[in-house]
């Protein structure tokens, strides 16, 4: 288990470094970043000054290392638009995104796992078909459209919920539903498949042969094994939801890191964009690492070896 963990940590670090290089090089996609930053009406002299101010005249790898070094200390420079330290901006917005992420994840889990279990217990029944229908619809539904339709329904037709902003808990209801439903199909399917497999396994037959009560067979024996891949999926899905949060937060004007990302991208606020990209990627790497560990820990075959 220890070796497993060590290997995973090394991998995570390597991936993080590679990603940081990718994120950094994004700035250079347009060619000369100084020109891009300066805007259309800038003179050559303006561009030169910009180049020196931002250090674009140094060799690329020096720029990268200096950026990386600063990032490691949590310094991402100053936002070109907000004129505030980027780290301050992000820290201010992050709790909103995290709140949204956690509540969306809870919604997804509370909806999909019971459904998935029931669907597996009664295959081809009404509940099985309904669960699959829910999953298929969820996969085909564009989240931003779903968000807008919900806004029309619940903020205009029956004005019970706010359409935008992030002041109260009510502002999180619709975003949670949309983002949660976005994650539901994967969970539901994984739970259902996992339970179907497990319920037909030999050790469940043994459990029944011992005369164990149905609840014990289902929860202690079946679910305990079926849930292992779902737990690691949860960690991974949380990462995906961070990406999805960009869309949702923007539609609902929820002031989180995702909305900040879109704002910064639209305004070519490079320092902020780079910081958020790096942050989201790092979060995802950490979550995958945690997922791997959870997976290994929950399965005695890996944990005890």
């Amino acid at each position: 288990m220890l070796v497993y963990t060590a290997k995973r940590i090394v991998l995570a670090i390597l991936v993080a470094l590679t990603i940081s290089m990718l994120v950094f090089s994004l700035l250079y996609l347009s060619g000369d970043p100084a020109t891009a930053l300066a805007g259309e009406s800038a003179t050559d002299a303006d561009i030169e000054k910009l180049r020196r101010d931002y250090g674009f005249d140094r060799p690329v790898w020096v720029q990268y290392l200096s950026w990386l070094g600063n990032a490691a200390r949590g310094e991402f420079g100053t936002s070109l638009y907000f004129r505030l330290p980027v780290s301050e901006l992000i820290l201010e917005r992050l709790p909103t995104t995290m709140t949204l992420g956690v509540s969306a994840m809870s919604f997804a889990v509370l909806l999909s796992i019971p459904l998935g279990v029931l669907a597996a217990m009664y295959p081809n029944s009404l509940i099985d078909r309904s669960a699959l229908f829910l999953a298929v619809v969820g996969q085909a539904m564009p989240s931003f459209w779903f968000a807008l339709m919900l806004i029309v329904l619940f903020a205009f037709t029956w004005p019970v919920l706010p359409a935008s902003g992030s002041d109260s808990w009510a502002h999180f209801v619709l975003p949670t539903v949309v983002l949660g439903y976005y994650a539901t199909p994967a969970f539901m399917r994984l739970t259902r498949t996992g339970m179907l497999d497990v319920l037909s396994s030999d050790y469940i037959r043994t459990a029944r042969a011992k005369g164990l009560r149905p609840a014990s067979v289902l929860f202690k024996h079946a679910l305990r094994n079926a849930i292992i891949p779902v737990v690691s999926l949860a960690a991974v899905q949380f990462g995906f939801m961070l990406g999805g949060s960009v869309i949702i937060e923007t539609v609902f004007a929820l002031h989180g890191a995702g909305f900040l990302a879109w704002e910064s991208i639209s305004r070519s606020d490079f320092p902020t964009v780079q910081a958020i990209l790096l942050l989201f990627s790092l979060l995802y790497i950490v979550l995958t690492f945690v997922a791997d560990l959870l997976n290994a820990w929950l399965d005695p075959r890996i944990r005890v070896g």
């Binding site: 396994s201 030999d202 050790y203 037959r205 043994t206 459990a207 029944r208 042969a209 011992k210 005369g211 164990l212 009560r213 149905p214 014990s216 024996h221 305990r224 094994n225 929950l298 399965d299 005695p300 075959r301 005890v304």
Partner: protein, 336 residues
Amino acid sequence: MNESEGPSLEVENLTVSIPLAEGTLRAVRGISFQVARGETLCIVGESGCGKSLTSLALMGLLPAKAVRGADRLVLHGRDLTALSERQMSDVRGESMAMIFQEPMTSLNPAYTIGNQLEEALRRHRTLGRGEARERAIYLLEKVGITAAASRLQQYPHQLSGGLRQRVMIAMALMCGPDLLICDEPTTALDVTIQAQILHLLRDLQREFNMAIILITHDLGVVARMADRVAVMYAGQIVETGTAAEVFAAPTHPYTQGLLQCIPIPGRTPRGEHLGSIPGVVPSLIGEIAGCSFANRCPHAMPACQAEPPMRDLAPGRMVRCVLDPAGAAARQAEMA
């Protein structure tokens, strides 16, 4: 009849039917047998003859779609057909227990051996964890597992197939059942381990005075373990008797054919062709007219178009065939 005497298990006209798209699959078509206390009954037959489904039917573990029927299904004087599912689960693991063919996958990988053993006992008896643990250690030692106390902490994947099967046996015995059903318990194991497990079962039977139903397709296992034998073919029992009787004087043509297929050291002449039974088992979907073995039987005749009766040759010795049993030996010589 006093409860402490009489057969351990009485089965009369047990049927198992499975509705399929193509029709009803009659996998077990009215079998009857008894097992006495302390006796081992071997149900032997080829794959698909319905022997596994029989064992599942006895335990009430049939798949949801399968339908069980029986005129009588009595375990130690208790009518199993009258029990609700809840009551049946009280019986399972307590008065009757079962071990299966694949020890590698029959234990839950997520829990320790100790957890699964103690669980079997505490489901049916109110005992403290300490007492349950003691019983687990006792039984692990009984099945020949050394360092039993430390084994309790181990997970199934840390044990070999042979060890896992011993654990399964110990688990089945946790509540001291009256009847132990073993469905091909040694088929998935190495030959050397097979012998050990069978030997173990024999010893345990003697010690705990259990009735054992041993399901197998291996005549060698039958020879070693059986007090009595029931030969199954196409969902029916075609011959019963003591092991000695059936091996020495097989009466049903199918049994004769089976024994013909095995080389017997010292008896089968060298270089001789081994027998084989031509043809295939008939489909069990829908009704089967007449004797199910007729299409493969060398002695088939028009009378076989009708359902052959079960003939009593002696107490406990029965054959389902229209042929005159007296000519069995002659017919067997003919086939050699």
